[in-house]
Each structure stands twice: as C-alpha cells, then as structure tokens.
Amino acid sequence: MHEQIVLAELGPFLLTAYGVCIAAGALLAALLTIWLGKRRKLRLRSVLDGLLCGIPGALLGARILYCAVTIESISVNLGLEFIPKLWEGGYTLFGGVWGGLAGIALYARFSGQKLSVLLDVMAPGAALFLAVARLGEYFTTQGLGFYIFDEAFQWFPFAVQDAYGYWMASVFVYEALAALLIAALCAVLLFREKPGGAAGWFLALLSLSQILLDSWRHDGYLRFGFVHVNQLAAVATLTVLLILDVARRVKQSGWSAWAIIRSALFVPLVGLLILIEFGLDKSGIDNIILYAVMAAVLIVMGVTVLHGGRRRQTAVAGSRAEHNG
C-alpha cells in the first residue's frame, strides 16, 4: 500500500493511479454493458444514453452523499467551497449506486425506455466497475482491515502491508472479488430472470456483502457512532428492495403467508445486525463468533429480500415461456 500516487499535476487537477483505475473500471464497465446490450437486442444508442446518464449520476451521487455525511467535518476542515470541487476527491459507495440508479431512471422516464431492462443490462457492468475501483485502492491507504500478526497469513492478496509496513487484511481485494462474483452472476441472471431480476440481485448482493465487508474495514471509513455509513446505506437499499417486491406481489395477489413472514422478519434481523456491530465494538465475545452470526443473519436477510415465494417462480417460468414463444 502507498500514500496517494500522483502521476501528474494538471493545474488544480491531480492524475493519480487511483483515478486511472476508476476510469479504466468505467471503460471496462461500458464495454461490457454495450456487449450485453447487444446480446439483449437493445439499441446501441439507448445503451450509450443510459451510460451517459448513469456515470455522471453515479459520480454526483457519490459526491453528494459523501458531503452530506461529512458536512460538519467539511465546513470545519475544508470549507464549504470544497463541495463542488469534485477533483479534490471525496466519494462514497452507495451514493454512487443511488446516483447511478437516479440517472438511469431519469433517462428511462424521459426516453420512454423500460427502466427494469436498462438496469438489468447495466448491473453486471456496475459490479465490474466496483471490482476495478476496489482494486485501485491498492494505490491508496484505504481498504485495509484488521492487523495480521501471524506470519502464515502475511501474503498478498490475503493481506497487504500498509504505508508503515504492518500487515493488514486487504479488505479491498475481498470486496473486489465479491464484486466480480456479483458481476458474473448478474450477467447470467440477465438472460434467465424476469425484467428487473438481475438489477435486484445486484443491489441485494452488493448490500449484503458490503454490510459484512465494511465491518472489517479499519481505515478512514465514514461512520455514525459505531455503525458504518455504508452499512446503513446497504440496509436502506435492502429495505427499499423488500418493500417494492412485497408491495408488487401484494398488489398482484394479496397478502401471502410468506409476504407476512418476510416483512415481519426483516426489522428484527436489522436489530440483530446492530447488536452484533455493538458487540464487535464493546463486548468481549470472540469476533469470529460474532462475524459468523452476522454472516448467518445476512443469509437469512438475503432470503427474505430475494425469495419472493412460489408465485415468483411461476412468474419467472411464465416469463421464460413467453420469451421462448
């Protein structure tokens, strides 16, 4: 790991190794999205317009959420004039996700395109971008986790040396691998799930994985008290996904037993996650046990959000039959 690597200075702008990784990730994501759009028989112009709305939306969203969360620190340390100076850095993950969604939603609204189809095509590219962006944290001092003192585990990519030579868990690599897996899964689901399915899986898996992985971060992450901002944003994302899915199913066929169970189960699961985070911070319980419980809670949470019940399977089968027909 290194202090920020500056490749060139162009007036007020800095060309950093991390910035190059961000642009490279966006380029790969754009190419993947264009290719998948072609496979899904979308017009190239629509895919390009979606990218041109989604990328700036993600950039602005990441900036807005970062500034909103750290506004007090910004006003004291950097001054409010820092906020529009995007080139001075300061972004956060879920602001980017929400901003990208908003940009694509706006485009779909004004162009009359089907939002769910556009989001599905964009989902694998978004995950690929995140993977490359995470790997770019190698060139910064971010993305680091707990210290690793056992020499048997002091090897890259499992661990990485920080700027002072201490071995720490390379959480950014774990996050990049998670994002790659999500990208691959979404690319497969794009051709198997009903419209909106791949995007839903992308948002849910990103949120679920980030709740655990962000908990491992011991870097300059944003937080409210002992809870990370990314974890709160992930829970908010999962909540919206659950509400939208349950509302749609209830509207279609009324309340089922599973719809009631998944709705009722979600809030206690969130409470359990908060308790675990509190326990990691304050209790004497072995962290490995707490992380194992957290992983189990996240799996159950994933089922409540992603599994719609039997009717969902029927709907997917119907969608496939319609597609094949």
């Binding site: 060309l15 910035g19 642009a23 112009r45 990328i55 750290t70 340390n77 850095g89 972004y91 300059g220």
Partner: protein, 44 residues
C-alpha cells in the same frame, strides 16, 4: 450512425474526465494521512 459516434465521443470524454475527477475516495487535502475515524465522522 452519426448520433452513435457523437455519443461514443462524449462517453470517451466523460471517461477521460473521470481520471482527474476521482483522484481519491477521500479528500486529497487530507493527504491520505490516516486521519482518526472521528475526523471524518458524520457526527463530529
């Protein structure tokens, strides 16, 4: 076809701009100096 080429050029410019618009996930002014988490705490 021309409209597609224009869009590709705009996309290329946006991607190029990203190299300097996202120099770091944390503010460059903090100098990657590993500020204590409280310094970037939304509640502080």
């Amino acid at each position: 076809m021309r409209s597609v080429i224009v869009r590709i050029i705009i996309l290329a410019v946006v991607l190029l701009m990203l190299t300097v618009l996202a120099p770091s996930s944390t503010p460059v002014a903090y100098g990657e100096c590993r500020l204590p988490a409280a310094a970037v705490d939304g509640m502080v």
